[in-house]
Subunit: 723 residues, 2 copies
């Protein structure tokens, strides 16, 4: 497999190959020193003059969270089941599922003895190194139980989560029976039916046709004992729309119950460790009280009540999105660390006539490819930490409001939920997309070695990719967030004033959208983060105002623009948080200040201003005279400025080797020895013949075509046959 | 695994859920009709009013080539080893390697009986559905034998290819020992040594240190009997740079030879079917005449001669790049076909109050995501067909020139080689990147089902990804092509006139780069393809002129811009070819004309003008007043115009189901039945317990924590222990 270049080749066509100029060597073996990438990495670390723990606290939000994370890294690294091993990249689907099952078993022991908050953090970290295990537990604890919590009464929740112990992954295991073969994004279109049979006081769960087959259900194929089933409630021939029901799938001996048909979905792009399944129900009866009835109730004689607060049941969907936004930060941290360590240790070509080849990190294009992702990861860290905080507060307010029946608090919570839908939707979609591209770019930046399984890019990319699709398809989420932004701008123009909303900055839309003067007019303006923030707000306002007239005709026609608005909203959120945290957490004389300031600038210049420059330009928010400076000159200057700090900035993520889980990305930087050792361990060189060697040897040693054809086309044969 | 949306959810927070409005249903089972995507697809086909074979000939270049391809599709589909099967997506690495070995064996039977041109076409098509098999054969026939052909004498080539039968994949199997652990892109930096030992008339091949370990060598781990080894020629303590040597690795019993250490590289992101290996040589002796000596010769007493034409040896690298550019077209055709068929059959959400949900293909955003890739694929088809033709001509001219020692022809060939390096480099890099994004976008456009293994996205993406890295890293190729473009513009400014070069359009650089007036000033200009072509030429010229002064200081600082120039060059090439072929091959009254015209416009508006709009704007090539029209309005209009033709345009690729190899992408459009059937076949629902079920059941049925801890933390124990 040749990974070759023609950097010099095309030149060679017309010029003399420099290697044809002989040079004297004394001793062939010793004349050529082995590469020493570890030394290069150590040299970089000498530049770091800040406290890594302090920077970690900046990234994670506070000291306690930072400390807990570092202790959890240690716990995971030491745990015999949870720790990573290079040979795990060789697992087949069957082996991976075995490992995942053992890890779930192990995790179920921690959930019994540690606080739920700490367990959730453990789970979040494990999700980065074993996304299949992560989602299998999250489907049970996050989706299944959250659905019961959100849609069931307190007593229903207590029964299933506590009495039946599913809250500690015991006795029963839940899956989330929402999507169908024919319905993914449009949940309200689900066609599975739950028909009330008054006579027996049961619901009959049925799959009417192939399109209503429950599909992609994580954990259904082999693990789940129960599902929450999204099905149309039918009572006395009336269709009340999609409600939720707890439906048992397997008995305590783990055998399928009658009427339940289940199969394995089989091969996937990634997440091979998850036993996704399909389910078809044929006349499956469940007791009436297996319906989750916090909001909608069916009485013994078939009276249906639908209280107005049902909408809040959707809050349970937020958790997954908030989590995926945060995952994007940790994945970004992991892969920028790998790619930048490699960029320091790897040397290729000779740029300046020095005796050594040049480190990849000293090539401008390499900096331009990787440093912006490092900066984006810093912005994502602080932004998603804030999102987590706001989400936690929302849930606690809701619990409080419902417990005390505080109507005012509930009304505020509904408002906060609305902006949380926009924020989590736009952060989840924008950051999971960015993370996909980040993994891909970091992989390419490691050249051929990025393609090796043991360096983690491939498996992670595959496991990651589904994040752009599930729990809210990114484009659907983006369109939805964009729509809310446009509507909000319109409301503000009509005189509404936003309060207690993260979208408050849109209160300036009337002024911002009318402003004739560009917000960013000269180069110096680019060093004012508050001004850049204002520029984003101005662009969002002007863009939305421009779209309002069309939106009255058709929302569909402006879908691409709605997704752009959602991305801009995400970046506003991140930058706003970054500015705030830098102002309030980092002292003016802290050695962290300068690297963070450059990081923030690099972030907004390369991830916001530059990619959306055409929009900033056409709406007159940024003066065209500095376009070139924004897309070319300034990013390059900032890359040069940040260059000495990048290893310190990645070390500050504090992810240990076992978590990085990449042989070329280890802390010691001894790339080549680490790499060859791991590969020899995973693939013993003693096996020099493949199991399929016979097929090859038979081919190479085959007799000639004439012989194999019994010489029946020979001259001799021709003579005989022609007579 | 929930793939859910909040298209309506955020609305629901404030508005009454429409589904809480009950609607009467008569009969639960029969009231809900199963989806019928096949009918939708059939309806689309009614719009196609051109001859599919004729369009296929347009794409493939001529009738003979088109016919040969269609016959080969048939041959592959019928061949018991070469045909695809859905369950192949479940293969483990070991099983995949077994299948690949059997397929290579089968291919070796075709090479004995069909023309080499036909065999190469068969191999090219097989490479789309089995890239691992493709590259394993290409390493042997393409890299190994081409290297011998390019660097060896005719007699050396005849010996290894004919006498030793490696040309028909018999007796021996070659691999390509170029890259090392420490050297990928910089081939001239390889550190393996070949030291001449005059006493025994042999070369000693040695790996001096870990960095010089041959790495990534496709076929080395288990298949290859020989390698061409790139090693530094050392004669009498003088280093003559990197030359090539045939080194035997295994004997006729397929056992490793002494001094040869080989191991399996193991897990990779994709191409699991390839046995990539590493090789270390310890004092391996080969006869002097195993050195390839077409250009460089070592005499019996150690005299080294280096003739001037050595540079031509690099021509053998072109073939891979030309092939990968063409692969990009076929992969694009395959995946746009899948995604567009699915977009027609899949319905989700109700846009217009109709009784049926809306087909995905009728959403603006969906059109905007997919149609540009369809258009790009058409441009890539004609452009890469031209590239193939030009490459074939180049090789034949070279053979002719060398055979007749025609100095004039050789000089012209060297010139043509130079532009072929630019063209193949910029097409390979630009199109393999585009194809990666195309697969990824098409996957996302199929929602959750795009993540299923049986729909081919995941495996194809993984197998594909290495194309951006190997045989010329895309960024390195892009920089190289960009550098040549800048230098060429400078030469033209200095008075040079290009002749017999595909870069001739740069002869206008002096005028174009000075022009004050924008080339595209009003909307109507966008309908003039020749003008758009001129606009690209103008942008390349102005951009290059702008970079020339910096290039005199540093090439490194302008690397990102060099890559942009390379992409623009690729698009110039494609559009130029598209215009030419449309003019010369399609009659004015042909029903193909209108769809092709819209396709071409959509291509240049969405793949050229829109993504590079900031550059077109800042160099004054496109008037800023039409920016919005170019990035938003016009693409949308073109999408609407092309909408009725898209199924016809994908059907025209003529790829049969067995080649499409995706259960939701089949011709009949019966998505759901095809999908469920395939999944049931590959994963029998009878296996309702997983092999790892014990781990799960043990967890669920575990005793309580107290019991497992022998009740030693109980109140009772506390009482006793505290006394």
């Amino acid at each position: 497999m040749a990974i070759i270049s023609d950097k010099k080749l095309s030149k060679n066509i017309t010029k003399k190959d420099p290697d044809t100029t002989p040079k004297i060597v004394k001793n062939v073996i010793s004349s050529s020193e082995p590469p020493n990438p570890a030394k290069d990495l150590a040299a970089e670390r000498a530049h770091t003059n800040w406290d890594l723990k302090e920077m970690h606290e900046f990234l994670e939000g506070n000291e306690a969270k930072s400390t807990e994370i570092l202790r959890l890294y240690q716990s995971i690294e030491r745990d015999p089941k949870l720790q990573t091993r290079p040979e795990q990249f060789d697992l087949t689907q069957k082996e991976e599922r075995q490992l995942v099952a053992e890890r779930i078993n192990q995790m179920s022991r921690y959930i019994e003895i540690e606080s739920y908050t700490k367990f959730r953090r453990r789970l979040q970290l494990m999700t980065v190194i074993d996304p299949s295990m992560g989602i299998r537990i999250l489907v049970n604890l996050g989706l299944f139980l959250n659905c019961i919590k959100g849609n069931g009464t307190q007593k229903q929740y207590d029964f299933w989560a506590k009495k039946k112990e599913s809250g500690i992954i015991k006795q029963m295991y839940g899956c989330f029976g929402m999507t169908e073969l024919g319905h993914g994004s449009n949940v309200a279109g689900c066609e599975t039916t739950a028909t009330f049979d008054e006579e027996t006081d049961t619901f009959i769960i049925d799959t009417p046709h192939i399109g209503a087959t429950k599909w992609w259900i994580g954990g259904a194929a082999h693990s789940a004992t129960h599902t929450v089933c999204y099905a149309r409630l039918i009572v006395k021939d009336v269709d009340y729309g999609v409600k939720t029901f707890v439906v048992p799938l397997r008995d305590s001996n783990h055998d399928l119950l009658p009427g339940i048909a289940i199969g394995d979905i089989g091969a996937k792009m990634g997440r091979q460790g998850v036993d996704n399944g399909w389910i078809q129900f044929t006349e499956v009866r469940i007791p009436r009280f297996f319906m989750l009835q916090r909001w909608c109730k069916v009485s013994r004689n078939g009276n249906v009540t639908l209280p107005p607060l049902e909408q809040l049941s959707y809050i349970s969907l937020l958790e997954g999105r908030v989590g995926m936004a945060a995952d994007s930060y940790r994945i970004g941290a992991r892969f920028t660390t790998i790619a930048l360590r490699y960029a320091v240790g790897r040397r290729q070509f000779n740029k300046s006539g020095s005796t050594q080849e040049t480190q990849l990190i000293d090539y401008m294009l390499h900096q331009r490819r990787l440093f912006p992702y490092l900066a984006l990861t810093y912005a994502a860290a602080v932004g998603t930490d804030r999102l987590e905080e706001e989400h936690t507060k929302l849930l606690s307010d809701l619990d409080k409001g419902l417990a005390t029946n505080d109507k005012f608090l509930l009304k505020n919570t509904i408002n906060a939920t609305k902006s949380m839908f926009v924020d989590s939707g736009s952060l989840k979609s924008t950051l999971t997309w960015e993370a996909s591209e980040l993994i891909s770019e970091c992989r390419q930046a490691c050249g051929g070695h990025g393609y090796s399984g043991y360096n983690a890019f491939g498996k992670t990319f595959n496991d990651w990719s589904v994040q752009t699709t599930w729990e809210g398809d990114n484009n659907v989420l983006g369109m939805s967030a964009g729509k809310t932004i446009i509507k909000t701008v319109q409301q503000v123009l009509n005189g509404r004033k936003l309060k207690n909303s993260t979208l408050e900055f849109l209160n300036d839309a009337p002024t911002l959208s009318k402003a004739k003067k560009a917000v960013i007019r000269v180069k110096e303006h680019l060093d004012e983060p508050e001004r850049v923030l204002k520029a984003i707000a101005a662009l969002i306002s002007k863009f939305a105002v421009d779209l309002i007239p069309i939106s009255h005709q058709t929302w569909d026609a402006i879908s691409p623009q709605r997704v752009v608005l959602s991305k801009l909203r995400c970046h506003y959120y991140l930058l706003e948080t970054f500015i705030d945290r830098l102002e309030n957490r980092v002292k003016a004389n802290s050695p962290m200040r300068r690297p963070l300031e450059i990081t923030m600038r690099l972030y907004y210049v390369t991830s916001i201003l530059s990619p959306f420059i055409a929009e900033f330009g056409r709406f007159g928010v940024v003066s065209p005279s500095i376009t070139k400076y924004i897309i070319a000159t300034y990013p390059q200057e900032l890359c040069t400025q940040i260059r000495p700090y990048v290893i310190g900035l990645t070390d500050s993520f504090q992810q240990p080797d076992n978590f990085i889980h990449s042989v070329i990305g280890k802390y010691n930087g001894d790339i080549y020895n680490n790499y060859l050792d791991a590969i020899k361990l995973a693939n013993s060189p003693r096996n020099h013949k493949a199991p399929y060697s016979a097929a090859l040897e038979d081919m190479l040693n085959r007799p000639s075509l004439d012989t194999r054809e019994r010489n029946e086309r020979s001259k001799e044969a021709e003579e005989k046959l022609s007579k």
